[in-house]
Assembly symmetry: none
Homo-oligomer: 141 residues x 4
């Protein structure tokens, strides 16, 4: 299975709605495919202009390393030098914190990732997971 | 006036519909704000994975230089060295061809740009203009 | 279908053998997945050290733009400024010449690309196609 | 002596087999020459797509600095600012942790490096060493 544009749109819509329903700050949400390339992105009104790079950095790291943002953050806490170096190997494009969530299909295969930014990293991850689960897929934060 | 997410969504929807109605190849569409930063992006199913960078490059050049992609291409034809040097100053991120379209409000002020890629550059521009005009704004190709 | 490591190994082996059988210069061959990421690479003895970047650049452009190296070269011949600018949008990593060959599965879907470098670009493409066809897949040069 | 493609292939095969025999996660293995340039690379099925950059970063640092990944990690622990600055001088491409292993010939001369990634850094180094020793060479982790 691949993430198509209709699924990506739905993930984004539910993630943004989740943010509003829980009174989070304005969120920005990107959906990447299994190769780390953008399918869709939306930045809510009121969010700061640099949110695309942050959202993509969260989701990109998840795809490239095969682990969610929370797992990356834990790895970075144990070995900050390691994670900084890994990030350098990707031109500094990774943002290894919660809010980058791997997307797995019913068979457990990674088919992409969602990156959310705008509120606390933990809230960002909540919104991402809500979006992913709304389309019957599994998120790995 | 600023481009909000609802307007950006509508521009993208109409640009994609225009592509389908005219039997273009699958399009990808980005909407940038007046600072050249992404508000929204969608890549139609079947488009190649690298389309975000191209769409953004078209729209980014339009915003940063204050002229549409067609005007940039004409400038590049007359002074290719100049345009290459300008592009270098932006880290090579500009794609100065039709399909990057400035968005002006009723007062003529630049409020962002739309970048479309996937079909011929001229068709890309047609789809971008259709999206921009559908929300009562003015596109400058 | 996805390209697995066994298939990638076989593609590389046949591409290298094709080069030797036809008395080409020492070849280097990379196989990328559908997201443009390396699965396998080999550089034949006697090839110059920089061959990985060239092989990857050929295959990476094929994946990201959805067209083989020959199609890219033709596009570059018509619009050199366009192709140079597109390359800049990808950080200069594309090498838009023959020898970058898209790999399609039986259903016509792009599942990766092969990049070959070392001899003339046309011979590079011959070796890539031989490797791809040896595993029952379709190459698009 | 130089590392040739046949030796590189054998190192990779044994490193991957070692990972499987010890129930490690799917590994990725690169072999670089004495100039830090790729001779061969393989990514096992199931590994995340970004593994080439990490494997190369480990081996590249080993070659460029003339010390294995473990020695680099120890140096980074004592002088993190120094190591970060050195890494910056190489454009951030070094990944100074175990799993990057220098390869020395019988005379003690550095003839390349092996980079392994996928499991814990220590296990990665075990797999790299097994590969190097299988061809009668000496690894320096």
């Amino acid at each position: 299975m691949e993430l198509d544009i209709q699924t990506a749109r739905r993930i984004i819509a539910v993630a943004l709605e989740t943010g509003q329903a829980r009174a989070m700050k304005p969120l920005s949400v990107v959906v990447l495919d299994a190769g780390g390339h953008p399918i869709a992105f939306e930045r809510a009104d009121g969010a700061s202009p640099g949110r695309f790079e942050i959202a993509r950095g969260k989701a990109y790291g998840a795809v490239m390393l095969g682990m969610g943002g929370r797992a990356q953050a834990e790895r970075a806490a144990v070995g900050p030098t390691f994670m900084a170096a890994v990030n350098g190997a990707f031109g500094g494009r990774l943002v290894p914190v919660p809010g980058g969530v791997l997307v797995r299909d019913q068979g457990g295969r990674v088919i992409g990732a969602v990156g959310v930014t705008g509120d606390t990293s933990d809230n960002d991850a909540v919104a991402a997971l809500a979006g992913i689960e709304s389309v019957g897929l599994t998120g790995e934060a």
